[in-house]
Amino acid sequence: MARRASSSVHPLWTLGIVGAILAASIIGGYFLYGFVNDPYRTLEPLDVASYLENSSSMRQNIYKLDCTIDNQLAWSRTEGRLFSVQANPGGDILPILVPAKLNDVNIQKGQKFFMRIIVGDKGILQVEDIRKV
């Protein structure tokens, strides 16, 4: 008597599917976390390439910038601090001016920040708000 083919799922397949779901959950959770964690998720990220090419055309626009602090270039008690940051992604070095009103924010080399920035006069990127990642 012919045997009837089994209709049950092979355990390996089950294990794979579970693993995939788990991974998707992890990834989705990550992105969800990030999305939820990005305070400026409504803002357009800065188009670094365009900025580097012609900053005048972006004057008074507000962008968000995900960056890592590279170096402090200068400091002024009244005008704030000038940093060079490494934009994420891409790694381009950009100068940003952290105004004096944000002097209370500790900013150190290697720290990652979300920043809301405005392209000011002469194409200077000025930080309006900053959140540590």
Binding site: Y51, L52, E53, N54, S55, S56, D70, L73, A74, W75, S76, R77, T78, E79, G80, L82, S84, D92, I93, L94, P95, L97, V119, G120, K122, G123, I124, L125
Partner: protein, 625 residues
């Protein structure tokens, strides 16, 4: 010798008289020069005036010639010249030295005739027949060229004297006739006077009658004697006139004959002098041999003998000169054997001056004379070389003469040569110093002085050439420098810097310009060297930046441009980043520009350009810092 030296001026004058009259105007030594101090000529050959004034009315001048044997200077008509260096004498002497010896058959025959005449007329031999033979030989002798027809002149003089004597004989014979006539006339006069005495006086005692008778008698006697007395006076007058004529004619003939002898003497035809004096004695047998010439000529001969000159004086002087010439020729031959050419030539020249026409001189072989000629020519060349200050040639000739003539005294010419060389060398040394120090005025003065002293100094030509060559090179270098400077071609100036440094050393303006160029080129070369070294270490951006800084200062340097272009290719990313930063900075896009500078600094952290750009822009963003 004393006699010769005293009479020698007259002989020298004769030498000059025999020369062409136009020689006085020739360019040689025998010319008229104004009275002036004698220049310090090396050989003293140039004639110069003596103390007497020009403007003598006579042909021979108003002074008799004089000769100083110590200096060999002859003075005549207010002029001085050295007999050995006189152009006229030199010319005649050289002509003689080049002439062949006169030993042909004709020459020998001529001398035989002359000797025969002299023998015929010699004291003791001079019979009428031999005198006539000697006279007949004169036309034969005059047929030879060497005689210059002087024997004809002598024959004419003898003939004229004889004719004159014939005329005197006729006058004597006429006087004898006149004396007879006078005697007869005197006798007739006496007879006429005696006839009157034969009349008797009248008788009577009257004194008046007697007195009248005596008066009548006297008148009658006078009338009878008058023709005889008159004739007697006439005859006496004619006799006296004939005697006077005879006397005058004899003296005139003697004077003419003596003038011919003196002329022979002055022409240095001493053989003719001897013939003439002997003819004179044969023709004028009265024993009167006193010379009747001008006072000056008489004084000249009187000074030689110390007594009033006679025909015999000329005869003895001629013999003395012949002997002296003979001795001179003998001395020449001996000195020639001793290879003492200077003395030999002088002796021959002295003998020639006196006895040019004597057989001793005429028969001297040309081969022997040529040696004196060679020495004379060399000494003439030496004098000419020193005259024109060609001391190189002079020194060469002196050395040649030292070899050919062992008695040649080189002290005077060598002193002149050495002095000129030393002084010229001093001026040249000063000229060189002036050239080095750029003192053009002194340079020109010293070169001029050196040239005047020794115009053909080889060192002078060498130095002049060098200085002028240097001047040309210097001038060209300066022109090139100016051109390259205007083209901003500092590289070419740097590559040829040695030439330009030398050329611009004496030009303060160009020297400063060159210094600046070379300083700049040192910067450029330093940048290139640094860039090359940095590039070797793999730091193309650093190498480019090193060159770029120099390029900003010196954009026209080709080599720098080439290196910069190469390094720009090698560090293209850095260069492009930096250029973008600069362009945005110029556009006042401070933020973007700063971003590019930061990027450039990331590429080459030690970049000065990036650092400076960042600093500038930071200052713009945060002026307070």
């Amino acid at each position: 010798m004393k006699t010769i030296s005293k009479v020698l001026p007259a002989v020298c004058a004769g030498l000059l008289l025999t020369a062409h009259a136009g020689a006085q105007g020739a360019g040689g030594g025998f010319n008229s020069q104004p009275a002036a101090p004698q220049p310090a000529a090396p050989a003293g050959n140039a004639p110069a005036s003596g103390g007497s004034q020009q403007g003598s009315q006579s042909f021979l001048g108003k002074d008799m010639p004089s000769f100083d044997p110590g200096t060999e200077v002859f003075t005549w008509d207010g002029k001085n010249w050295n007999v050995n260096d006189n152009r006229l004498f030199q010319a005649r002497f050289e002509k003689y030295l080049n002439a062949p010896e006169e030993t042909s058959a004709d020459d020998l025959h001529y001398q035989q005739i002359i000797q025969r005449i002299l023998d015929d007329l010699a004291p003791g031999n001079a019979t009428i027949a031999r005198v006539d033979e000697a006279f007949s030989l004169l036309p034969k002798a005059s047929g030879y060229q060497i005689d210059a027809r002087l024997c004809d002149a002598l024959a004419d003089a003898v003939y004229s004297a004889w004719r004159s004597q014939d005329a005197n004989d006729r006058l004597a014979r006429a006087n004898e006739g006149l004396a007879d006539e006078r005697k007869k006339t005197e006798w007739n006069a006496q007879m006429a006077a005696a006839d009157n005495k034969m009349d008797a006086p009248p008788g009577g005692k009257s004194r008046d009658v007697t007195s009248q008778w005596a008066k009548n008698q006297q008148e009658k006697r006078d009338a009878g004697m008058a023709p005889y007395v008159q004739r007697l006076a006439e005859v006496n007058a004619v006799i006296k006139a004939n005697e006077l004529k005879k006397e005058v004619s004899a003296i005139q003939m003697k004077i003419e004959f003596q003038a011919l002898i003196v002329q022979f003497f002055l022409q240095r035809r001493f053989q003719h002098v001897l013939m003439a004096t002997r003819f004179y004695r044969a023709v004028f047998t009265d024993g009167d041999t006193q010379l009747r010439v001008s006072k000056e000529a008489k004084d000249l001969f009187a000074s030689a003998g110390g007594m009033p000159p006679t025909v015999g004086t000329l005869d003895s002087l001629a013999n003395e000169f012949i002997r002296d010439a003979h001795e001179g020729v003998d001395a020449y031959k001996f000195l020639l054997q001793q290879n003492e050419l200077e003395s030999a030539t002088k002796r021959l020249a002295e003998s020639f001056m006196v006895g040019e026409y004597l057989p001793e001189l005429r028969t001297l072989p040309r081969e022997q004379k040529r040696k004196a000629l060679e020495f004379t020519q060399k000494t003439d060349q030496l004098i000419s070389a020193i005259d024109v200050k060609d001391y190189t040639l002079a020194e060469k000739i002196v050395h040649q003469l030292e070899v050919t003539a062992k008695d040649f005294d080189n002290s005077k010419p060598m002193a002149a040569v050495e002095t000129a060389k030393t002084v010229s060398a001093m001026h040249i040394a000063k000229a060189k110093n002036a050239a080095v120090s750029g003192d053009r005025t002194t340079l020109e003065e010293e070169l001029k002085a050196a040239t005047e002293i020794w115009p053909r100094n080889p060192a002078l030509a060498e130095v002049s050439g060098m200085i002028f060559s240097q001047a040309d090179v210097q001038q060209k270098a300066l022109l090139d420098f100016d051109q390259l400077l205007s083209q901003r071609n500092y590289r070419q100036i740097y590559d040829d810097k040695i030439r330009f440094i030398a050329a611009a050393a004496l030009d303060p303006v160009r020297r400063d310009q060159l210094k600046k160029v070379l300083d700049n080129m040192e910067i450029i070369e330093g940048a290139i060297i640094r860039a090359t070294e940095i590039s070797k270490q793999g730091d193309a951006a650093g190498a480019w930046e090193s060159v770029e800084k120099a390029f900003a200062q010196f954009p026209d340097d080709n080599k720098l441009n080439q290196v910069r272009a190469d390094l720009t290719t090698q560090a293209a990313d850095f260069v492009r980043t930096l250029r973008t930063a600069e362009q945005l900075e110029q556009k006042e896009q401070v933020g973007s520009s700063l971003a590019w500078y930061l990027k450039a600094q990331k590429i080459y952290p030690r970049s000065d350009y990036a650092q400076e750009g960042i600093a500038r822009l930071v200052k713009k963003i945060l002026p307070e810092t």
